[in-house]
């Protein structure tokens, strides 16, 4: 009886003339906004890419320069992710399981790449390793090329993606505390055993989530890479840089074909991210029910 009563009550509140319109108006605004600013451009990418048929679309990828750009992007990503993974785990491990002087400054520094513009990040490396930079002359002497070459692109991408894994792990590891690690140590585990068998399984979803975000950013980075790359076709062009060049040459189909590739990667990333979020939430719910931190 009481349930029926409260439901009627609820319906009455909703059907009051003011209450009825507010949710409809808000929902409409949200849907329109999403449609115009997200779905429409997303559709446009594929419409433009396929404008002259699938044959022309596929032709775009046969271009050696396009292939080289795809290869370079993959290479950079494959180098950046493991490095960031190791750094992210080490940094969050150090800041959450230990206390050391300067911890606050360290945590702030991790966020630095988020705070400054990617273009500035690029210039930092030019300033350091460029021809007139601090280490430029020395590098010249030893015939090492960083700026306007692949190492510079890797460094710039690394710099802008540093915070992703660490930012994801630090709050997670903070909330988990150190008691499970202590339990492992008391039971005779070595540092490595403790990490591999206790810490890692507890942070795996957060770690994967961080890697996915890091991956998305590494593939799509434009600003910082643009500064340190010389835009040399077939050598130092990543996918985003190649898209810009194609577009400026009025090769619209080629530009959008490459763009569609990036978009597809983004959609896959999004799906993976959602899956990981769902999985980790399920794990967390288990822990909450279990009452274990």
């Amino acid at each position: 009886m009481s349930i029926a009563y409260s439901q009627t009550n609820l319906r009455q509140t909703h059907s009051s003339s003011r209450g009825r319109w507010i949710p409809i108006v808000l929902t409409t605004i949200a849907v329109l906004f999403l449609g115009v600013f997200l779905m429409l451009p997303l559709a446009a990418v594929f419409v433009e890419a396929f404008r002259k048929g699938i044959g022309v679309y596929l032709q775009s990828f046969a271009d050696p320069d396009a292939r080289s750009a795809i290869r370079l992007t993959l290479l950079v990503t494959l180098m950046v992710i493991p490095l960031n993974l190791v750094f992210g785990v080490a940094a969050s491990w150090a800041t959450t399981k230990f206390d050391f002087p300067g911890k606050g400054i360290f945590l702030t520094l991790i966020d630095l790449p988020f705070a400054i513009s990617p273009v500035i990040s690029g210039f930092l490396f030019v300033m350091l390793f460029g021809l007139h930079g601090w280490f430029g002359p020395w590098l010249m002497e030893h015939n090492i090329k960083i700026i306007f070459a692949v190492p510079g692109i890797v460094l710039a991408t690394l710099f802008v993606t540093v915070p992703f894994v660490a930012r994801e792990l630090i709050p997670l590891m903070q909330s988990q505390g150190t008691e499970q690690e202590q339990a492992a140590l008391v039971l005779g585990a070595s540092g490595w055993q403790m990490f591999r068998r206790v810490t890692l399984p507890n942070i795996k979803w957060g770690l994967l989530y961080g890697v996915i975000l890091c991956n998305a950013r590494a593939i799509g980075e434009f600003g910082a890479v643009s500064v340190v790359s010389a835009h040399i076709r077939g050598q130092t062009n990543t996918i985003p840089l190649h898209i810009e060049i194609l577009y400026e040459e009025y090769n619209v189909i080629g530009a959008f074909a490459m763009a569609s590739l990036l978009t597809l990667l983004a959609l896959v990333t999004l799906a993976a991210k959602t899956l990981v979020e769902w999985k980790s939430k399920k794990d967390q719910a288990k822990a909450v029910i279990g009452g274990i931190r």
Binding site: Q182, A183, L185, V186, L187, G188, S190, G290, I292
Partner: protein, 350 residues
């Protein structure tokens, strides 16, 4: 294995958790570290385990006369049960209990069959044989605590340390588990130290109780010893309810029924509620009081009274039978007599 710690001091920033604490625990003993929160009892336990390092200048920690001060927690090989169990949540119960054996270097690691047998024997001991394949979140609090205990026993420690082992459990499970712990200790006779803030738990389970306050051990002794002969007002107060009667020297004899005050200029008498007798007849050493409230619960009746002369509150506990005989009612005037009292100097602040 005996434990001997000498002159341990531990500070966390400006906070001093332990001040020059020394303690000896004999082989096979079950000792309770009892005190209010923040008294340093958990810190002391963690220093024994090696999870915390004492301040420089502290004395050594000895296990069976061996100095383990420089040994890591891993090398000390103690069993440690955490307050919140700290079970590995991604491992099932079997894997949790087996953990200490599976992380051993290959040379010292028992074979798979041996590990399986030992884990099942331990699970049988804690009555959780049928839960081997379950995960920690599927167990109740009491079951999880037993898994934690089995896990710590798997490595066959010579010393077992328990941090508020029953703190997070409800009253009934708590009571069962502490009797069970006592039985287990008697069977295995492993030197054990447990931390608790529950005086009833400490007095019921332990061979000896160390009462801690503000980083110091106030008293250590058998349960009946610390209860009957508290060394100071803190211990008296912490181990049960107490009535405090302030008195000046010379006033003593008249008011405190034959209990002499010592040569304090100012003293207080500490009396347990069950050492206060209620009568309807005046006597030389009786104090007139008025009944305020009566709570007849179980075998005893708790009676709250107000002294007629000083208006101080007094709490008395009398047997249900005596209560029935007296036929007490709230608001009545009666007399109270002190059966037993201890005097401490008044300047002692609790």
């Amino acid at each position: 294995m005996s434990i001997q710690i000498t002159n341990i001091t531990k500070t966390f920033g400006a906070f001093t958790a332990l001040k020059n604490v020394s303690l000896t625990i004999h082989n096979g003993e079950l000792v309770a570290l009892l005190g209010p929160s923040g008294c340093g009892k958990t810190t002391l336990l963690r220093i024994i385990a090696g999870l915390e390092q004492p301040d420089p200048g502290s004395g050594p920690v000895l296990f069976h006369d061996d100095d383990v001060s420089t040994q890591s927690v891993r090398q000390r090989r103690v069993g440690f049960v955490f307050q919140h169990y700290s079970l590995f949540r991604h491992m099932n119960i079997f894997e949790n209990v087996a953990f200490g054996l599976t992380v051993r270097p290959r040379k010292f690691r028992p074979s798979k069959d041996e590990i399986r047998d030992r884990v099942h024997a331990l699970l049988k001991l804690v009555q959780l044989e049928r839960h081997a394949g379950m995960y920690p979140h599927q167990l109740s609090g009491g079951q999880r605590q037993r898994v934690a205990l089995a896990r710590s026993l798997a490595v066959e420690p010579k010393i077992l340390l328990l941090d508020e082992p029953f703190g997070a459990l409800d009253a009934k499970v708590r009571k069962e588990l502490r009797q069970w712990l006592r039985k287990l200790h008697d069977e295995m006779s492993i030197t054990s130290v447990f931390v608790t803030h529950d005086q009833e738990e400490a007095l019921e389970v332990a061979d000896r109780v160390a009462v801690l306050n503000a980083g110091r051990i106030e008293q250590i002794g058998a349960p009946e010893e610390v209860y009957d002969n508290p060394a100071n007002p803190f211990v008296f107060n912490f181990l049960g309810n107490v009535n405090i009667f302030h008195c000046r020297a010379g006033e003593g004899r008249h008011q405190f029924g034959g209990h002499e005050t010592k040569a304090f200029t100012s003293a207080a008498a500490y009396v347990r509620p069950h050492d206060i007798d209620i009568t309807r007849h005046s006597a030389a050493d009786a104090i007139a009081a008025r009944v305020v409230h009566i709570a007849p619960v179980g075998p005893i009746a708790r009676v709250q009274l107000v002294r007629q002369d000083t208006q101080e509150m007094v709490e008395a506990e009398i047997t249900r039978q005596h209560y029935n005989e007296l036929m007490l009612h709230a608001g009545e005037s009666v007399f109270i007599q002190l059966r037993n009292a201890r005097f401490f100097a008044d300047d002692y602040s609790i």
